[in-house]
Symmetry: C2
Subunit: 765 residues, 2 copies
C-alpha cells in the first residue's frame, strides 16, 4: 500500500450542529449489510438536530406516496430504508456529573477513521464542571467478517480522580426515520414504520424483535454489554427499551472499558431472525474483541491489495481517493438481497434507494477490482427481473422488462415519472454492466444463468418502446440521464445504449447457441429467432442524433433549438437550479444538471469519431451545472480522453472531494457513492484510459502534471495486471494469471510479463 | 321561439341509482350564481349514492394537494368549490306513513325541465302501503332575477283520503363535498371544509352562517317555510341544523302547499352576508311566488329571443340544442367574481374550476348573443391578472402574466403540470377572446381599461417563453390542447395563437395611441416602444410547423415521428385511454384525446391554405379518440368548413347529445358546459360558417340535408342580425341597428335591410 494514508482525522472538532451532522455521515461505520451513523453515544443537547440511525441494506417498509392527480399507472407506494434500532446509546457519569461535550471543558478531542483497521475512533479529554478530568476513547466497528455485528468499545480513563463511574447503556427498539419536509432529496414525512416488540433479556443480552408496518418484514436487534471489571449491574426493561446500568469504582489512571456488541438480523436473510441474532451474538462474544479487530484488518488488507490506487504528488487528492474507496466497500451489498444505495448505509438521503448509479459509476470499479461483488450486483438485478417485467406492463408495454428508476426490492419508487420512470436508459445501463462483466470475466455460465435473460428482456422492451420512422429506429418520450431535460425524443445516450443492448442480445444468443447453453433461457422466456432478427435490424437502423455543422451529437432531437441558459449570469444562490426553478422552466432551456451525451461518448466511444466527441464535450461543458454528483467525474474522464489533462485534473479534484469538503452541502444526508466510484473511474478510465472492449482491455495512460506517478491493479479474466504510470513511460505488469492481449494507445500487445512504453498524447490524435 | 320545444321530460322515471344520479345533474336548477342539484327532497334509501349539493359560483376553500415528490414551484394547494348547505330537505307523512318513492306504489311519475318558465318539476302519484293516494307536485326554481334565491314549491293533494299531513323541512349547515378516490376527474378525498355555525331562527326564518376552513370566506343560508293554510308549527334547532315541522289536516282533493325559500349569500359579494341573506329573504317573501315565476319567464323570454337557434327537420337534435343553451345561461357567472365552470353549477366534477373552455367554447356563444356576459367573462380574467403575474413568476418567468390552467380565484390548481400549467396556450386563448370581443363590439374603452393590459401581459410572456433559433421564433416545452401529447416543442395551436396575441398587442398599442387612451395602461405596466417592436418581430418570424409532403401542420415538432396508435384495434373497454394507459405510453404515440391542430385551423383559418387544413383534418381524424368532451364540436365545425357536410352533421350529433345521453358516462358529476357551447358553435360557426375577422363578419352558410331550414340571431356592434338558411338560399336580415358590411362566401356586401343569396359549396372551393 505504500504511501497511502489510511487515516482521516479531525482534531479539536467543531460542535456546531451542521458540522456534527456532517460528521455523522463522514465517520459512519458500515459493512455493506449494516450501517451506523456516527452519532455521539451520549447524544447532543435537546435543541440540536441529529440523524441518528442504524440501517440494514435492503430492509424497507412500504410508504404511501399520494399523487396530486391520480393518473393511470403512477407510482403510489414507495419503499423506504428503515432505521431499525438505536443501540448506540451510552451515557457516562463521573460520580454525579454526566459527561457531555457541551458542558464542562473539552480539553482535547479528535475523531478518526482508520481505513486500514476498519474502525472509527472518538477521543476526548474532558474536564467536568467540578474539575474531574477523564480521557474517553471510543472505538467503533462494523465487522466485514461477521456482517450482523457492530461493536462499540468505550474506554474511560480517570485522569485526576478516583471515584464512581456510572455507565448507562440503552437499547431502543422504537425508532423513527429522519424527515425534512423542505428537501425533495430526503423523506418529507415521518411515520412509525417499525413496530417494536417488548424488550427481553436473554442470557444477559437484551433482545428486541420488531416488524414493519406494511412490508411484513422482521428484524431483531440483540445487544450485549461487557464491562472490563466487576461492577454493580442493573437491568431495566420498559416496553421496547432495554437499559443496562453499571456502577463501578475507578482509580486515577485506571482504564475501565465497556464493550457493547450489537447484532442486527432481518427476515430477508434469516428465516428466524431472533434465533439468528442470538446465535450471531454468541459467536461475537465468544472471541475477544481484539480477534475481530484483527480479522477486520486482514479483510481490509486484501481489499486494499486488490483495489489500491497509489498516487504520488498530491497528498490531499490521494487521501480523498482512499477515503472514497473505503466508503465503497463499506456501502456495497454482499448478497443478492441488496445492492448499493445512492448514499450507501451512511444516511437516509434518497431513502436507501438503488439507482443506475450502480451500473454506471460503481460496477466499473468493482468489476476491475472485486469481480465477485460486481457479479453480486447483477445477481441482485436478476432477482428483481420479475418486478421489472411487471413494471413494463404498468408503463403500457406488452413484453420485456423495464427496471425501475429507483427501488429497494424491485418495484418503482419514483413519484415524479418525468425524471424517474421515464429514464428508460436504466435498462441499457444494466445490460451494459452485464456485457462488461462478461467481457472481462468471460463467465458464460453466469450469462446463461442470469445475464442473457436480462439482456434479452431489456432488448425486448426497446422493441416495444421504439418505432421505425423514415427508415430509422426511434425512441421517443423518454428521459436521458440529465434531469433538467425530460421527456424527449431520441436522447443520444439512451439510443446508443439501446443499440448496444440490442446488439448484445444478438451476440449472447449466438454465443449461448454455440455453447449449447441457449435452450433453457430461450424456452423460459419464449424467445424466437425472428425476435433476434428484429433486434439486429433495430440496432442497425438505430437513430443517433448528429448535427453536422457543429459536428456534435445533440442530446436529443430538440435540445439545440432551446434557449441557451446563461450560467455565467446565474447568481450562485440559484444553484442547484432544481431547488430554485420550476422543472418546466428548466426543460425549456439548454441547461444540464449533469453529463448526458458526454458519458455516452465515454461508455461507447467507438460510436463516434474523436472530433464529434471533442466538439460535443466543448458544447455541453458550457451548459452543464454539475448540480448532480454524477457529473464531474465523467467530464474528467472525457477530458482525459480528449487530450485536456488540466481540465481532467480539475474535474477530478471536484469529484474526489465532494463529500469530504461537503461541496454539495448535503453530505449530512449521506455520502455520494456514485461519485466515489466516479473518482476511481476518473483515474483508471480517465488518466489510465482504460476501456473494456470486445477485443480486450484498452489502455491509454497519461500522467497528470501534478503527479509524479500512480499505479493501479486490475483483474482481467484469470489475470491480475498492474499499471504503473510515470513521467514519460508506463509499465504494464502481469502480476499473475495467463498472458493477455492488451491494447495501448490503440495498438495490441501480448502481455506476458511486463510491457514498458513511452506515454503518448493519445487524446490529441 | 316558434317550434322550439322548451320541455325536457322523463315520465315513469327509473329509480336505479345511476339514473337518479344522472338526473340530479340533468334537472339541476341554477342561475349562474347558485346551483342546486336535483336531489329528492326526501332523499334516497340509505344504501344509495347521491351527490347532494348546493353551490355558489366562485365560492371555494383551499385544499392541500401533496406532491409525490416536492419539486420547485409545483402546485401544493388547490381551490375547490364547496357544497354550502343542504336546504333541499322536505319529508312528508300521510298520517303515520312517510312518503318515499321506494315504498308503497308509484302510480305515476315524471320529471320536467321547463326552459321557457325556468323551473323544474317533479310530479308523483303515490299510493301508500296502507292505500292512501296522493299527488305530489314539486316545482323548483333558481331565480335569474334575484340571484341568491332558490325556491321549492311542494304541493300535496290528497286523492282518496282526508287526514293529517306532516311536513318536516330541514336546513342543514354542516355538509361535505362528494368524493370518489377512483376517478381523477372528481375530488379524491373529503374534508370538513365548511365550519357551520349554530342554527338560529330570525322572524320565523332559519339562518346558518358558516365559514371555510382555510380560505377565510363566509356564507349564510337563510330559509323560510310558508304553508298555504294554518297549521301546527314546530321549530327545532340542533347545532347547525334547523328543522321546521308543520302538522295540518287535509281533505280529499284539497291541495296543501309548502313553499320553501332559500337564500344563499357569500362574503365574496356581500360585506355582511348574514344581513344580506336576511334582506334578500325578506325581499323574496314580500312578493307572491307567482310574481317570481313571472319574472323568471320574462327573463328567459329575452334570453331565448336573443340567442334562439331554430332548426327544422330534426326534433331530437333541436331539443338537445335548446337544452344545451339553457344550461349555459344557468351556468355562467353574472358578476366579475365568477366565470363558468367546466360543469357549471350542476355538480362537483373538476371541483368548480374554470378552464380555457370559457374562452374557446363558451365566450364565442355569449359574444354573439349576450355581449354583456362575454364582457363579464373577460372582467373576471382581469380581476385575476395579478395572480397570473405571480403564476408567471412561479413558472420562472421574469415578466408577463401566465393564466392558470384551472382555477377559481386565480391561483393555479393543476396538480400535474405536464397536462396542466404547461398548457400555456390558455394565454393565447384569453387574448383571442379579448380580440374577438373588440372586433365584434368595437368597445375600445373596455380595451383601454382591461383588455389591452391582458393582451400586453400575455404577449410579454410569450417573449419570455420563446426563443429565436434559426431565424424563427420557437415556443418549446409546452403542452397544447391535446392532453395525450405533453411537453412538446412548437405546438401548432400554441404558436399560431401566440402569434395572434403578439400581433394584436401591437395593434392595440397603436389603436390606443391613436385614441389617446394608451398612457394609463402603458404607464401602469411600464410598457416600452421597443417591446412593441419585439412583439411584432416575434410574430413575423413565429415558427408554424408544416410538413410539405403531406401538406399538413404537424401538431408539434415531433408528433409525426411517433408511433401511430391503432385506434381500430383498441378494445372499447380501453376508452377513455387516460384511465387505462400510463401517460408516458400515451405521449409516445400519435394519439389525441381531443382536437388540437384542427381547432387552430378553425380559430385562425387565414394562417393556412384550405388544402393544408383539409389534409390536416383528415390526418388528425384518424388519431383522435374524442375522449375529451371538447373535441367533436370542433371536428364538426371544421368538417363544415372543409365541405364535408355529412361528417359535420355526425360530429354535431355526438356533441349535442353528450349529456342528455350521458355518452361520456360521467354526467352524474355535472354537465359539460364547453361541449354545450360547442354545440352552438357547430351550428353558427359550423353550418353557418361564421367567422369574426378584422374586416367584419364572415358567413358561409350551408344547410345540413337532414334539416329543412334553420335560423339564428347575432349581435354585431350596435346591430342585431338574423341569418335564415333554407334549401338553396340564405337570408341575412338586419333586425335593428346601423348598416354593416358582411362577407358571404368571401365576398363583401353592405347589409342595409336584407340580403338573399343562393347557398354555395364554400368548403369545397
Amino acid at each position: 500500500m505504500g504511501e497511502n494514508n489510511f487515516i482521516y482525522e479531525v482534531s479539536d472538532f467543531s460542535l456546531e450542529n451542521d458540522e456534527l451532522m456532517l460528521n455523522e455521515t463522514l465517520f459512519h461505520n458500515a459493512n455493506g449489510y449494516l450501517g451506523v451513523r456516527s452519532n455521539f453515544e451520549e447524544g447532543y443537547p435537546i435543541d440540536f438536530q441529529s440523524i441518528r440511525g442504524e440501517y440494514i441494506n435492503g430492509f424497507y417498509d412500504f410508504v404511501e406516496m399520494k399523487q396530486a392527480e391520480n393518473l393511470c399507472g403512477l407510482t403510489e407506494e414507495k419503499q423506504t430504508m428503515l432505521n431499525v434500532a438505536d443501540t448506540q446509546g451510552i451515557r457516562l457519569s463521573l460520580d454525579d456529573e454526566e459527561f457531555s461535550m457541551f458542558t464542562g471543558t473539552v480539553l482535547q478531542s479528535s475523531r478518526t477513521l482508520d481505513m486500514e483497521k476498519g474502525i472509527t475512533l472518538r477521543r476526548v479529554v474532558w474536564r467536568s464542571p467540578k474539575g474531574k478530568e477523564v480521557e474517553i476513547t471510543i472505538i467503533r466497528m462494523a465487522s466485514f467478517v461477521l456482517l450482523p455485528l457492530f461493536t462499540i468499545e468505550y474506554r474511560v480513563k480517570a485522569l485526576n480522580f478516583s471515584g464512581t463511574l456510572h455507565f448507562h447503556s440503552t437499547h431502543i427498539g422504537s425508532v423513527l426515520n429522519y424527515c425534512d419536509p423542505s428537501d425533495p432529496r430526503v423523506a418529507n414525512e415521518t411515520f412509525q414504520h417499525l413496530l417494536a416488540g417488548k424488550a427481553e433479556f436473554v442470557d444477559n443480552a437484551s433482545v428486541i424483535s420488531s416488524h414493519t408496518s406494511k412490508s411484513a418484514l422482521h428484524v431483531t436487534s440483540a445487544v450485549k454489554n461487557l464491562l472490563s471489571k466487576p461492577a454493580k449491574e442493573e437491568r431495566i426493561k420498559r416496553d421496547s427499551t432495554a437499559i443496562q446500568k453499571f456502577t463501578v469504582e475507578t482509580e486515577a489512571d485506571e482504564t475501565v472499558t465497556l464493550t457493547k456488541y450489537t447484532v442486527l438480523c432481518d427476515s430477508i436473510r434469516y428465516s428466524d431472525c431472533r434465533a439468528a441474532a442470538l446465535e450471531h451474538l454468541e459467536k461475537a462474544v465468544s472471541s475477544p474483541l481484539a480477534d475481530w479487530y484483527s480479522l477486520q484488518e486482514q479483510y481490509l488488507r486484501k481489499y486494499w491489495e486488490s483495489c489500491a490506487v497509489h498516487v504520488k504528488g498530491d497528498d490531499e487528492l490521494s487521501n480523498a481517493i482512499t477515503y472514497n474507496l473505503y466508503q465503497l466497500i463499506q456501502s456495497v451489498g454482499k448478497d443478492p438481497h441488496s445492492n448499493i444505495a445512492a448514499k450507501g448505509l451512511s444516511g437516509e438521503g434518497y431513502e436507501g434507494h438503488y439507482f443506475w448509479d450502480t451500473e454506471m459509476y460503481i460496477q466499473p470499479y468493482f468489476l476491475l477490482t472485486q469481480p465477485q461483488i460486481a457479479k453480486n450486483l447483477i445477481e441482485y438485478r436478476y432477482t428483481t427481473l420479475d418486478a421489472a417485467r411487471e413494471n413494463a406492463q404498468i408503463l403500457g408495454h406488452k413484453s420485456g422488462a423495464l427496471f425501475p428508476w429507483r427501488t429497494i426490492m424491485g418495484k418503482e419508487c419514483s413519484g415524479y415519472f418525468p425524471s424517474g420512470s421515464a429514464q428508460y436508459h436504466i435498462n441499457g445501463d444494466i445490460a451494459y454492466s452485464v456485457i462488461n462483466y462478461f467481457l472481462l470475466t468471460k463467465d458464460i455460465e453466469f450469462i446463461a444463468r442470469c445475464g442473457a435473460e436480462i439482456v434479452f428482456e431489456t432488448a425486448r422492451l426497446w422493441m416495444d418502446v421504439g418505432n421505425i420512422s423514415g427508415g430509422k429506429f426511434l425512441i421517443n418520450s423518454v428521459t436521458g440521464p440529465d434531469e433538467y431535460t425530460c421527456l424527449v425524443n431520441n436522447n443520444y445516450f439512451t439510443n446508443v445504449l439501446a443499440q448496444h443492448n440490442l446488439n448484445w442480445a444478438v451476440k449472447f444468443y449466438r454465443l449461448l447457441e454455440e455453447k449449447k447453453l441457449l435452450t433453457p433461457v430461450k424456452e423460459k422466456i419464449g424467445l424466437t429467432k425472428s425476435e433476434i432478427t428484429d433486434f439486429r435490424r433495430a440496432a442497425e437502423i438505430m437513430y443517433l442524433p448528429y448535427e453536422e455543422e457543429m459536428d456534435i451529437n445533440p442530446q436529443d432531437d430538440s435540445f439545440l433549438s432551446k434557449k441557451l441558459w446563461d450560467l455565467k449570469k446565474t447568481p450562485q444562490k440559484d444553484f442547484p437550479l432544481l431547488l430554485h426553478y420550476h422543472p418546466l422552466y428548466l426543460y425549456r432551456h439548454q441547461v444540464c444538471k449533469q453529463a448526458d451525451t458526454v458519458p455516452a461518448h465515454f461508455v461507447l466511444e467507438d460510436a463516434q469519431p474523436l472530433s464529434t466527441m471533442k466538439h460535443s464535450f466543448n458544447y455541453y461543458e458550457r451548459v452543464t451545472t454539475h448540480d448532480s454528483s454524477l457529473s464531474t467525474c465523467i467530464f474528467s474522464i472525457m477530458a482525459s480522453r480528449l487530450g485536456m489533462p488540466e481540465k481532467a485534473y480539475d474535474y477530478f479534484g471536484k469529484s474526489s472531494e465532494l463529500d469530504l469538503f461537503n461541496t454539495h452541502k448535503n453530505t449530512k444526508d449521506g455520502i455520494h457513492t456514485a461519485n466515489m466510484g466516479g473518482t476511481y473511474m476518473a483515474i483508471v478510465y480517465g488518466f489510465g484510459g482504460l476501456r473494456i472492449k470486445e477485443d480486450g482491455l484498452h489502455l491509454a495512460p497519461a500522467l497528470p502534471e501534478q503527479w509524479t506517478e500512480y499505479d493501479f491493479k486490475i483483474h482481467d479474466e484469470d489475470s491480475l495486471i498492474q499499471v504503473l504510470v510515470k513521467k514519460q513511460s508506463c509499465e504494464i505488469t502481469l502480476l499473475n494469471g495467463t498472458e493477455k492481449t492488451v491494447f495501448l494507445y490503440g495498438r495490441s500487445y501480448l502481455l506476458k510479463d511486463r510491457l514498458q512504453l513511452p506515454l503518448e498524447d493519445w487524446g490529441k490524435s
